[in-house]
């Protein structure tokens, strides 16, 4: 059947979209987020208007003690044009706003305290992180809210997806770290904190008990490496491995002396110790192969 469909033509989009959505579901499952339903129209009772969502998930927040919903949309072959990205963010935010009163009434969502997080997961080629960043920074959100915890829509591009696939393949996660905030101390949980996944700064314990820290973005400035030391101290964890998806070996070589000084200082403190070196991965975003390899065969995700 797949031979009849032109693999690059528009008719192949549905197949590719389904595959990508399956991969997103597997990825969410590995992060400890429970996938409640997929591709269903949640009927907005207030306007009798159907709102289709690709994935409705839920996760337990170990710090606030509540269960939260999240809505995921998977987008393939995205041109990452600013106007298109902004429209999709706005559409997902609108869906979130419309679905908030509906989800608790559903049998699958009755234990959900609130749903205020949207995830736009992009398989975009070619991908330029700066372009995505600029598109989101120039967006003027419509439908803002005065609530204590407003809606938030995270846009995750191939740098997040490939970076995590690569890092997880090297160090299989078992528990994720929820960093401290306000009066809440940091906590380990089987669930990954969505905001840290979106921010591209995530810590976990590997199957061998090693504490790993993954940083998605490049660290171009001299002050960026000492900042990792500050992070370990503030999070009050000793870090065994640091995986930097976007740091090149050449750049790392220019920073080794500085890093040695940082690790030496860190060793003298009771907590917040650092490894002797980081792992500069210098990944390319041109091919989704690491992502596909890791998350394309998990048939039992849902």
């Amino acid at each position: 059947m797949s031979q009849i469909i032109n693999p690059v033509g528009p008719e192949a989009n549905n197949q590719r979209a389904n595959e990508f959505e399956d991969q997103v579901v597997s990825w969410m499952t590995e992060l400890g987020w429970e996938v409640l339903c997929r591709n269903i129209d949640l009927f907005a009772q207030n306007g009798h208007q159907s709102k289709g969502v690709d994935v409705l998930g839920a996760f337990d927040d170990p710090q606030l003690g509540n269960r939260y919903g999240l809505v995921g949309e998977a987008k393939i072959r995205h041109p990452l044009r600013a106007d298109k990205t902004q429209k999709e963010v706005a559409a997902l935010s609108h869906k979130l706003g419309a679905l908030v009163p509906v989800i608790p009434k559903l049998s699958i969502g009755e234990d959900i305290h609130a749903t205020r997080t949207g995830l736009l997961v992009y398989d975009a080629q070619p991908f330029n992180p700066a372009k995505l960043s600029e598109a989101l920074s120039t967006m003027q959100p419509v439908g803002t809210t005065r609530s204590e915890w407003p809606r938030e829509v995270w846009a995750l591009g191939p740098n997040t997806l490939i970076g995590m696939a690569d890092a997880f393949s090297r160090f299989e996660p078992t528990k994720f770290y929820w960093p401290p905030f306000e009066r809440q101390g940091g906590k380990w949980s089987s669930v990954a904190p969505p905001q840290q996944v979106g921010a591209g700064v995530l810590a976990w314990k590997s199957r061998r008990g090693k504490v790993c820290l993954w940083l998605r973005d490049p660290l171009p400035h001299d002050e960026d490496f000492p900042a990792i030391s500050a992070l370990a101290w503030e999070w009050q964890i000793d870090i065994d491995r640091i995986i930097c998806s976007s740091v090149s070996r050449d750049h790392w070589r220019t920073q080794t002396k500085r890093w040695e000084a940082e690790t030496k200082k860190a060793k003298n403190r009771g907590i917040g110790r650092l490894p002797d070196s980081i792992e500069p991965r210098d990944l390319s975003w041109d091919s989704m192969t690491p992502w596909v390899d890791r998350w394309s065969h998990d048939e039992e995700a849902v």
Binding site: W149, P150, Q195, H221
Partner: protein, 374 residues
Amino acid sequence: MKNSRYPLPEAIAQTVRHPSTSLSGARRFYGSAGVVVYADERAGLANVASRVWLGPNVTRGLSTFLDMVTPGVGGLIMQPAGVQAPQLDVGPRTASSRLREMAEAKHQIPLGPRRATLCSVEDSADSAWEWTGLLSYDHEFRLKSGQYTTSRPMATFHVRPDSHPTRAHILVEIHYTEDLDRVRDWIAALLPSVERWSILPFALLDDRHEEVRAVVAAIGAGGEVTVANPQTQKLSAAPADQQLAEFVRHMREARYTTNIQGLDSLIERAETVDHAVLSAFDLYHWIGEGKNRAAVRIRLKQSGMDPLTLTWGAVREAYTAAGMQITDPVSLDVDGWDSLTTAAWDDDLKIAHLRLLWGRIIDSLQSASASAAA
């Protein structure tokens, strides 16, 4: 660790909560980090901020967004300071070309304590300007927690020659309060002191009302222009006329909230009631023709020792809320402005419009000085 260069979420949240922080700037900052937060109040955004630990490189861009001001433009004039040394009859013949030559020679070389670095020099895409430069500089931002973060914002400037070859006009696009000063400092450091150039901010004279009339007429380009919300200021430190009422004698500055009206009434108020000069006001004018016709509001300001700046206000199109074009004539008064519909211009369009207006101001002053010389 509080002195580290990594701003903690707690410190960012505290800064976002502070009334002096731009909410839209904070939203834009988180957008650049990958999340669009639909917060209408600082408290909501601060709650989100307190939970997200961003990457070190992203947090360094914090001040780039939180310190942003409404887009505006200001100007500098490069001209000889006194008698210049004799020059060889080779090389650039105009001040504008000389500045470009020096800029290209010092391309990518940090100058001054703010390490101002020219990132690009190219012919201006705007035909009214000869060339354009992009300058980055160290910009320190103090979080409300006391932590500092440094970013390197970019200031764009455009250069064109004056009618007199030894003078050049420099227009600076202002997105941060410092932009104009940083470009000025960089040009001053760039030009060899033996050549005796001065770089002056573009400003109206103290006896400015005639110049204000000329500037307003230039911006309107012969069309309808109205004004509102004036600010008046006493410039002279000399004792005021004892004949005046005590309040007027001691008044330093007055801000008025008014409806849209004519410029004459504002000048009359400033001269006869406040005995001061206009230091700022909103200016309404038309731009475009037919379906593209739009009314624009800008703020013209020259307060104290500051130079003249034009700051973006708003734009409205001649369409009803239902999307129908308004074909009847619309006046730029309160009713007319209220009947128009807000248009969505991006930052590039806003700045391009301000550049156009600045060009008109320079052209009018050049033609005025040419006719005076004649």
